[in-house]
C-alpha cells in the first residue's frame, strides 16, 4: 500500500503538474495557431492597452455593472476563486510535502484558519449548486455536466476536510483526496475549467473591440 501512496504522491504529482501546465500551454498554442490560420484579423483589433484595461476593470471587485447587479453571486464567486488557489498553495500539509521533496517552503496558513477557509470553499460550491437548482435562468442552462464540474472541484476539498479531521477511513480518504486533486488539475486544460486561461483571452478581445473600435467601455 505504501508503494501505491508513494506513486500517487510522487511520480503521479509530477505527471499531473506536467499535464496541467503543458496542457494549458498547449491550449493557448492551439488557440493562437487556430487564430493565425483562421481568424488572423483578430490581431488588427487587439490592443494591449484595451485588453489590459478590460481585464483590469473586470478584476476589480464590484466595479463592472454586472457585478453590482448580482453582488451575492459575484461575492461568492470572488471568494471561491481566491480560496481555490489560496488554500491549497498555503496549506501546511502541502508545504511540508514540498519541503520534503525540494527543501523549499513558504509561509503557511494556520491549520485552523485553513479549515475554516475550506468550509467556505465548500459553502461556495453548495451555493453554486443550489443556484443551479433554484434560479430559473441558471437552471435552464444547467445540465448534469455542470453539476459534475462542481463535484470535481468539491471532491478534493471534501476529502481533504474529512481526512484532516480524521473523522473516518483516514487512509482511503487521503488517497481519495490526492487522486481527486490530481484529476481536477489534469482536467483543467481539457474542460470548461480552461476558462482559467481562455477567459482573459475572450475578455481581452471584447475589451479591444469595445475600447479600440467602439470607443466604449465593456464593464
Amino acid at each position: 500500500m505504501n508503494a501505491f501512496i508513494d506513486f500517487i504522491m510522487g511520480p503521479m504529482v509530477w505527471i499531473t503538474f506536467l499535464i496541467f501546465i503543458l496542457g494549458l500551454i498547449l491550449k493557448i498554442v492551439l488557440i493562437l495557431k487556430d487564430v493565425n490560420a483562421r481568424e488572423p484579423y483578430i490581431y488588427s483589433y487587439m490592443t494591449l492597452k484595451h485588453s489590459l484595461r478590460s481585464i483590469a476593470a473586470w478584476s476589480i471587485p464590484f466595479f463592472p455593472k454586472s457585478t453590482k447587479q448580482s453582488p451575492v453571486f459575484y461575492g461568492v464567486s470572488y471568494i471561491f476563486h481566491l480560496l481555490l488557489f489560496l488554500v491549497p498553495i498555503f496549506l501546511t500539509a502541502h508545504i511540508v510535502l514540498v519541503n520534503e521533496a525540494f527543501q523549499v517552503s513558504w509561509i503557511a496558513l494556520d491549520d485552523s484558519i485553513a479549515d475554516i477557509l475550506t468550509i467556505m470553499v465548500g459553502l461556495g460550491l453548495v451555493f453554486f449548486m443550489i443556484r443551479r437548482m433554484m434560479v430559473p435562468e441558471v437552471k435552464y442552462l444547467t445540465s448534469c455536466k455542470d453539476y459534475l464540474l462542481i463535484l470535481i472541484v468539491a471532491l478534493p476539498f471534501i476529502t481533504g476536510f474529512i481526512a484532516y479531521h480524521q473523522f473516518f477511513l483516514y487512509r482511503p480518504m487521503v488517497i481519495a483526496h490526492v487522486i481527486s486533486g490530481e484529476i481536477m488539475l489534469i482536467l483543467i486544460p481539457f474542460s470548461k475549467f480552461s476558462h482559467m486561461i481562455v477567459a482573459p483571452l475572450t475578455r481581452a478581445y471584447m475589451g479591444s473591440e469595445f475600447g479600440n473600435v467602439r470607443h466604449a467601455k465593456d464593464w
Binding site: M1, N2, A3, I5, D6, T92, A93, V96, N99, E100, Q103, A108, D110, D111, A163, Y164, H165, Q166, Y170, R171, V174
Partner: protein, 125 residues
Amino acid sequence: MKNKIIFLSFILFLLTAVVAFSNTELERLDNSDFQKPQRPGAVFEHDGHNEMAGIDDCNVCHHVYEGKKLVEDESSEDSSCADCHSLKAVVDNSITLELAYHKRCKNCHFEQNKGPVLCGECHIK
C-alpha cells in the same frame, strides 16, 4: 423494534465512550521544541516499534554526521535531535528538525513498504 433501536444506540454510545477515553493514553513524541505546532506530537512507541521493525542498532535513527558524511558505528542516542537539527535551516545543517523527523520515519516506511506515511497516521488527533 423500538426497544432494539434504543438498546443498539446505547451499545454504540458505550463503544464510542470507550474508544474516546482509551485514545488519550497514546505515547507521543515530545514536540515541545516546536513553536506553535499545528498537529499533536507523532504517536510513537519506541520499544514496540523497534521490536516490530526488527531494529537492533540505535544508529539507524540516532545517527551521527560529520559535515555531510555519515559516521558509521557511532550513535547519538544521548543527545536530542534538536541539538543538531534546528527549526530553521542553517549552513551547517540544512535539514530542519521537522524535516529530520518526517524524512527519518517516512523514507524508511516507504522503503520498507510498511508503516504510516500519511500526516494523520502519526499525528493522530
